[in-house]
Symmetry: C2
Subunit: 188 residues, 2 copies
DNA sequence: ACCAAAAGGCTAATGTCATTAGCCATCCCT
DNA sequence: AGGGATGGCTAATGACATTAGCCTTTTGGT
């Protein structure tokens, strides 16, 4: 009975692989167990439950996205930064559609997910801060941004749009619409 | 062994009741069977499978929404009509959050769902037609509208926003942002 | 090096669910 | 009355999550 060398983190790795290969709904302890070469109950030594694993996966995905967004926004500000963030979001979704679909929509119901969501939100808030909005306006602007990006991403990740050829154009218009709704950024 | 008087439609009714009471994830043949006072396998006399039932539920929900939107848009045109549609969408989601969550995001993968989706889309297209856009522009505008409404609705239905008190305000801003992105409607 | 305990695997068992097969009662039409 | 369609039922199967209890490997302290 040699050890498989698993850890909570490597189980999440395997879960992500399952999601990437077979879709978000295919995430099952049995599938992860098969992929890690272990019996299903053994996974309970590393994760509390399937729901738990989903949380871990969600955190991992959100943090991955947060990292990419941070990089994308580096050295930019104002409309430029907002545009970069929105396009990076879409790039992520196109690259990992199943991961995006696996992201929980209700991160607030779990402490770890809420924390990861907060980190993600932080990137957006940091960029919007440059517009010199009031706190209230920034909250509304962030929510709108989230709705726009999430709506488009969800529909696209699920293959909910028909003609896929000019989706880029649609997204550009969506980004332009959002950017146009922001106040002109403060000039230094 | 008295008859229960079920029909495909009444099974969908029961499914909607389950969804309303216990959430979209709680839709299970066992739950529907319990609610209709019938053994689970008996449901197969009326629906082909759980996936089938989900399709029926999705169609019902989309058509219900389509009906409400049609009514909301009656006698209106241009920005007024778009605003009314968007607010009616949100009103529906607030009234039946679980139903909205039960709506499939990928209606294209099924003929019946695609048809219902087409009917829903028709209402939006009809309203946008008044703006005298090219066909291409109308497609982009519809997609953007869908992304905006769906994004907000999804997040709200899942309880994904924090402070719920000024969500109305956020949505108003979102609607205003969208309306502002449309060309000025043609005057008669 | 030793040894106890912690850690990580395993098999067996349970419960929930969808789904299929095969049986029987009820209903409707003639 | 009677025969087929219709709609229920029970029993069985198979996927899955989860729990319990066992056994081996690893590891930390001496």
């Amino acid at each position: 009975m040699p050890r498989a060398g698993l850890s909570p983190s490597s189980v999440v790795d395997a879960a992500l692989a399952v999601i990437d290969e077979r879709g978000a709904e295919a995430l099952t302890l049995a599938a992860v167990a098969a992929r890690t070469g272990v019996a299903a109950p053994s996974l309970y030594k590393h994760v509390g439950s399937l729901a738990d694993l989903r949380v871990g996966v969600g955190v991992r995905i959100m943090d991955e996205l947060t990292g990419r967004l941070g990089t994308a926004a580096l050295g930019r500000s104002g409309d430029d930064a907002v545009t970069a963030l929105m396009h990076e979001c879409r790039a992520y979704v196109m690259q990992h559609p199943a991961r995006y679909a696996a992201m929980p929509v209700d991160p607030l119901h779990n402490k770890e997910l809420a924390a990861a969501g907060g980190r993600l939100l932080g990137v957006f808030l940091a960029v919007l801060r440059g517009y010199g909005m009031t706190e209230t306006d920034a909250v509304h602007a962030t929510r709108c941004l989230r709705a726009v990006v999430h709506g488009f991403a969800t529909i696209q990740a699920a293959g909910g749009f028909g003609l896929p050829e000019d989706l880029d154009e649609t997204y550009h218009r969506l980004v332009a619409m959002y950017v146009a709704s922001l106040p002109r950024p403060e000039r230094s």
